[in-house]
Subunit: 349 residues, 2 copies
């Protein structure tokens, strides 16, 4: 059996509670006693039983994170970064993947709450608000990640997707393109906001916003490449071909580029592309892909800090954190000579 407080107490001839206090650094114990306790605890390699501690104190020092897909680099990087912040404060992370299935997500939310996490972070794939029954009335603080549900009045940490859409489209416009299409994402806020940014960027220039230039896709995350490929084939069949495409994410863009090259067009001269997410390999693709960087690591850090704030104090004010994205220009939207000046940071908010 593992070492318990009781064992240390017996060895030292003090009471169990004294040991507990000494180890937790409660200012109620003489320095000498504390040192004796610490010494003995180290000798015995004492590890507090977090279950017991959690049960007694009502805090588990665990946060829960539910993501739609761990394989998606965005969520993987987010989880990694979040984990780092939490670890440094002694917090653990319990992770669940909903596989983009609202049902599974519900299950996982129940399961994770049952495990008594101190806070819950959810990148939800619920199509409607309805699915949040059971989280709202809970006392466990929760934070929405990446996909917001404005009606929910919940804490939120994510990308400024409207800015991303605006930025991407403005960039394509700045290269002289005018017939800009959009392969859109799912109807979560992330997809909707990027789309809104796209539309507003066109309006700024008084360019027509054609519904036929927007390809809608309910589910993009899992099969982005295929969706991009099929979407692009549709666009190429239109009488007026686009001369640039803003894709919801990088995977979609990769698929779209594939379809474009297959059809014999040149990139970026005939058609330029920009994605979103700035995946690790963007530089090494057949056509290095321009993209909008979401500063995912920073997102994870911010979410971690907010989590710690929430569990420590009852910070009731609603936090809505939206990180400004960054434009990264590569060959898919710029002629080689221009692409040499690779990265251009946007102004900070």
């Amino acid at each position: 059996m593992a070492v318990r407080l009781k064992d240390i107490a017996r060895d030292l001839g003090v009471s169990l509670i004294t040991v507990s206090k000494a180890l937790r650094g409660i200012d109620d114990i003489s320095e000498e006693t504390r040192q004796r306790v610490l010494k003995r605890a180290a000798e015995l390699d004492y590890r507090p039983n977090m279950l017991a501690r959690g049960l007694a104190s009502g805090k588990t020092f665990i946060a829960g994170l539910i993501v739609p897909d761990l394989l998606h680099p965005f969520f993987a990087e987010f989880a990694k970064s979040l984990n780092g912040v939490l670890r440094r404060s002694g917090y653990g992370l319990i992770l669940a993947s909903s596989e983009e299935d609202p049902e599974i997500e519900q299950q996982e939310i129940r399961a994770v709450l049952g495990r008594g996490v101190d806070a819950l972070l959810i990148a939800s794939c619920q199509p409607t608000l309805h699915g949040f029954y059971g989280v709202e009335d809970q006392r466990t603080p929760f934070i929405l990640i990446d996909r917001d549900f404005p009606q929910l009045h919940a804490h939120f940490v994510g990308t400024d997707d409207y800015a991303a859409g605006l930025m991407a489209t403005r960039h394509l416009l700045s290269t002289g393109k005018r017939r800009i299409a959009h392969i859109a994402g799912p109807s979560f806020t992330s997809g909707a906001e990027r789309r809104r940014g796209y539309i507003d960027a066109l309006r700024e220039r008084s360019l027509p916003v054609r519904e036929s230039a927007i390809i809608d896709n309910p589910r993009v995350e899992e099969t982005g490449e295929e969706v991009g490929y099929q979407g692009m084939r549709q666009l190429l069949r239109r009488k007026t071909r686009p001369d640039a495409v803003f894709c919801y994410n990088d995977l979609t863009a990769i698929g779209a580029i594939h379809a474009t090259l297959e059809a014999g067009f040149s990139i970026p001269d005939d058609i330029a592309f920009i994605g979103c997410g700035n995946v690790r390999y963007s530089d090494y693709l057949r056509v290095p892909l321009s993209s909008i960087d979401q500063s995912t690591g920073l997102l994870g850090e911010r979410a971690g800090k907010l989590t710690l704030d929430l569990v420590k104090s009852r910070a009731t004010t609603l936090k809505q954190i939206r990180i400004k994205p960054r434009l990264v220009i590569r060959a898919s939207s710029a002629r080689p000579e221009r692409a040499s000046a690779r990265t251009r940071a946007s102004a900070k908010p």
Copy 2:
């Protein structure tokens, strides 16, 4: 406050323990009572408090997974797959990333064990066995993932890396290449075994194994591209240039290919490449990358099943699961016309 067994018991006028038994399906309760309990539990949306259950029963229904890097597609996919298997059996997964730092790994092992996981899965980055102090003597069953420590006599689930090295090198040989170099991985078993496979494949053909044709790298995981890039530049400076390179993993290969194209060589005619891992984007790279697929999803499933076996019964027999890898040929090692027959599965053991 959340609903407790006590609340249900009070409502129904039975004792707490009756409710507990009814919910756990213990065959000691009349069907009628059980139904009443189930009904009321559903109405109140009862969720068992896993902390209390864990404390009382000694089982937490949580497994711990410690990986060096969540961002690495291999570990992300493994975690995803493992999580799926565990979820279907009501098990949770607590995740920790060691950031490839043995110290952090140690901390995390302690932390995760303190949380009372029923089993621990570790893809370790310990350079020596020494770091496992504290895991071995523990009663918690543990499984090594991907990187084996043969001296430890622990359960292991991973790729057959020797076969991977053999397969990759044989493939390059089969395309007529003879001066085959190797950009090797870290000195864990995964790296060492792939290297051994490489060497044996050359020996089979009685080809010389030159130390100068092997580039060693202590830490490849995080900065694979850079390591591959620098390693390849070294190789290109040698008097006898290689005509093919087997890279420890895909990221390394991507970097190496970059260096090669930059130096003005053509792929695969001047120099062919093969990586290992078969990352998602391999098809869409500047030069589509031949690779060894590790069937990561399958690995996760196997690890999940082994975990469940271990926590359920005291399966004492040592399990060593090594999944046979699969060769995937793309343009980096084959002329376009041959590359059309894209995927070729290896013989099953």
